[in-house]
Symmetry: C2
Subunit: 229 residues, 2 copies
Amino acid sequence: MSVTYRDIKADIFNQITTGALAPGGAMPSEVDLAESYGCARATVNRAMRELADEGIIERKRKAGTRVRMAPVRAARFEIPIVRHEIEKSGAEYRYALVHRAVMPAPDWLRARLGLDAAGRVVHLTCMHYADGTPYQHEDRWINLAVTPDAEHNDFSKSSPNEWLVAAVPFSNVQISFHAVQADAVLADHLGCTEGRALFQTERSTWWDEKAVAFVRLTSREGHRVTTQY
Amino acid sequence: MSVTYRDIKADIFNQITTGALAPGGAMPSEVDLAESYGCARATVNRAMRELADEGIIERKRKAGTRVRMAPVRAARFEIPIVRHEIEKSGAEYRYALVHRAVMPAPDWLRARLGLDAAGRVVHLTCMHYADGTPYQHEDRWINLAVTPDAEHNDFSKSSPNEWLVAAVPFSNVQISFHAVQADAVLADHLGCTEGRALFQTERSTWWDEKAVAFVRLTSREGHRVTTQY
DNA sequence: TAGTGGTCTAGACCACGGA
DNA sequence: CCGTGGTCTAGACCACTAA
């Protein structure tokens, strides 16, 4: 076993980045590559499959494999639990429940999550602090039709996020990042002035076609989401 | 071949989400699973490997496989070329070069990219329009030590991004998302008022330990980056 | 040191889809 | 149609690491 799938991946990646393999250009078939690398087709297959997953190459049955014209490279961002994110940075984490109410789902939420007119939700507002300073504001809505237990939890001690991941299954998640102006409430909680630019994450969670929860996370000024590949 | 690796993935995922497999709990070994599913170990291996890649489970040699305590789920965001993003939405794309200069690298950039004191760069400012309205502002710096050809390209016709992906190899990319206030220049170009919250992406590209380029992309008001998994 | 995951092999069958 | 990638198998050896 002298040739590993990693060797092949690296070799092909180099050929692409150095220009030996041109974007849009066709590559040899797996059988041919296996022969030229002197290994089994399965080994070549794994290398090529991973390159395809990473968006470097494009594969089609019969048509073969070619280098992507526009490398639609995908970046992976880890979506951590706030508490872990803060503790990992060495800071002390503190959670506070600001507001809790059980209510009929407002129209915008019903539309967003596809709830029916009778839909009831738990609405929570909470804050996450790092070393005593505001870190993130959480505005969460939990669908009681899917998660009735949420009605009897007061969420005064721990974040709804941590309760949800442990208590409720989910199959599908939508995430959106964008920038917002701080309104009076956010400015107050996050310790900035009104109108400041804040980074916001919205996340909808679904289980079996039914909405489980929607959350809007607003981070303190200057927050960045970073990754590398 | 009745049991596929997809079947196994789905089955295990369901066992986790429904609570049949508890977070932190140990799972059977690959050999045992292969027997109980009635398939080859390689099939189980592929299912488990993908679950591990997705951050659902955690694997260690000898120690075995266990369900992740805190599902550090990672979301994939595609980083498209602006032109493709706009054209895919059905709008007409237009590019404009605002400013071009060859100059010594400013201190903040030298520090950021690890350039030496003699480092020279091309500084470009450009705009991307969708159906004639401002879509994204691009502020780009290209390291001439790595990419000398950039000095003789005027970038008046096509975006530096498209030129770079075709002309320069890269091995490492760092991306950061955050929110900024529109300053006078950005407000002017993007057609909003000063102080508005804008979504900004910063990206550093490296090749073989040397910085290739740095770019700061500012999107028009209301821009969102979205994904689902 | 022994058990578990990581990987490779040689061969096979199949599904897709371009020609 | 028929070449290409997608996947499975049965078996093997190896690398890591907890016990």
